[in-house]
Symmetry: C2
Subunit: 340 residues, 2 copies
Amino acid sequence: MKIVLDVFGGDNAPEEIVKGAVQALKENDGFKLVLVGKQEEIKALLTKYEYSGDRVEIIDARDVITNDDVPTEAIRRKKDSSLVVSFKTLTSDEECVALISAGSSGAVLTGGMLLVKRIKGVTRAALAPLLPTVKGGFVTLVDCGANAECKPQMLVQFAHFGRAMATSYMGIQNPRIGLLSNGTEDKKGNQLNTETFPLLKAEKGLNFVGNMEAREILSGDYDVVVADGFSGNIALKGCEGTALAFMTILKNAIMEGGLRAKIGYLLMKPVFKKVKKTLDYNDYGGAVLVGLQKIVIKAHGSSKAKSICAAILQAVTLHNRGIIDEVTKALTLDDKVDNE
Amino acid sequence: MKIVLDVFGGDNAPEEIVKGAVQALKENDGFKLVLVGKQEEIKALLTKYEYSGDRVEIIDARDVITNDDVPTEAIRRKKDSSLVVSFKTLTSDEECVALISAGSSGAVLTGGMLLVKRIKGVTRAALAPLLPTVKGGFVTLVDCGANAECKPQMLVQFAHFGRAMATSYMGIQNPRIGLLSNGTEDKKGNQLNTETFPLLKAEKGLNFVGNMEAREILSGDYDVVVADGFSGNIALKGCEGTALAFMTILKNAIMEGGLRAKIGYLLMKPVFKKVKKTLDYNDYGGAVLVGLQKIVIKAHGSSKAKSICAAILQAVTLHNRGIIDEVTKALTLDDKVDNE
């Protein structure tokens, strides 16, 4: 099994990407890596580390897609970019099972949707990140931004994607699925939600719990949160923003709190480190673009070596536990039900 | 000027509501209060406090609307509930300028929409809470939940509501207005957003900054965030939930951190208190239902005396600074532009 890594995507590319790649090779010996980007730079960076050379392949790509590029144009025109070459490698080499990029979100999404085939029956792929919960587990939020405009049947598919993620990656047998809404009552929601609710309720193979509010996302009471990509993105970014705001307000209060606060802070440093680690979802890998025939992972733009390593190991786990089969099975079951 | 207070709405009614009322009377002498609910209970509670009797009027109402009631039915059928009688008092007594309730959100919204006239030109009223920002100021989020389904022109009105709130309540002269979206680029968003964007851009009298992400809500870079009520609710609840999750994770880490962590926590207690105070938006009053001919404030269901007092003083400020005139002026300007 090979995993394709876009070495020139992300704020800290290529140094941290290569460093993360080598770390992952050390931590797990069940895969090979295909590193894509300017080959002389990749080779120069690799000389810094010890690694088993026969597990690494380099494919040259001279161009880079940046956040300033318009995603659809970039994917079509920058044929020799590290990202487009990564996608071409993923789809043309049968041994390649996954692609990871920390580059432009829009370009990774567009590339995944245009260049990788969807699983039979899938209307649109959706982006599913893992978020930490207060109970120490994880919740996946599908879709967190791939599809700004959705139809009810798409949300039913997203529920299946989430179930597959929770089962195959998180190891949860009968994951609890909530529909993100503006209240918990059955009739709550906008038109999309109220139309989706009865479909989810009727759908076989899903443990649909009902409507939920955004304040419950991190509660640990749900394994899967289903949302259209617009609302899901707002929920995700709202959570991110509040966590950052909390840290800033805390820092300011410590600065203004005099010596007592500063000593307290020094004593509590390990506690804060632990909190930061718990909340930093980048450490758990990236967001998976689910619904495609191969695994595509969007790592955070600011990913350092640790996050890249986590994303590679996430891809290995997802492949070994058969995420693609899980989704395929769920949608085939759908077809059967429809045809009865 | 009189302010109507629903004494039997909220988790801590009637005790904390009456206590908050008396506090507000002490802090500001520019208004009278109309307390609505079971009069013998209100009278009994009032005997505990010293207050100027000629500033308090009691109107008897025997029934109570709870969170278990279906809002529309409750407003129509429970004619003798403290909330419905409060609304009737607000609309029938010219001296009454505002109503405050910590009762069922749905019932307060429905009551406001059915029983209080809208300002001429307003399509739908919207709910606007004040949220604290990391820079020490406030931001208002319109709509945070009154309208799950919106049209572009409604969002333009919400922008005017937000501008009026920021100008008249927060004292900001040219408030920066952002449109909540799934990215900052001009073309980002779902259909509603992409249709609203050019309208906001073209609208006179608004300092429209552009699309913004939910992670920027608390940044202090915006004074007004415009959203449909569904997305706005998700953003608001997402922020609330993350702040709660952060506190829980922090507490757990302290509990597991041994003696060092506990001593650190004791030293940092004043810091945490300050952070909590900064983030606790209930202390700043309630969410204002903007667009109606009188001021309606929904205080948090869990409001204690302090929040009720804050909401009453908020109503006084909003009235004195002419929020209704601000909105009316903005929409009349709209009309003029339309008729040119």
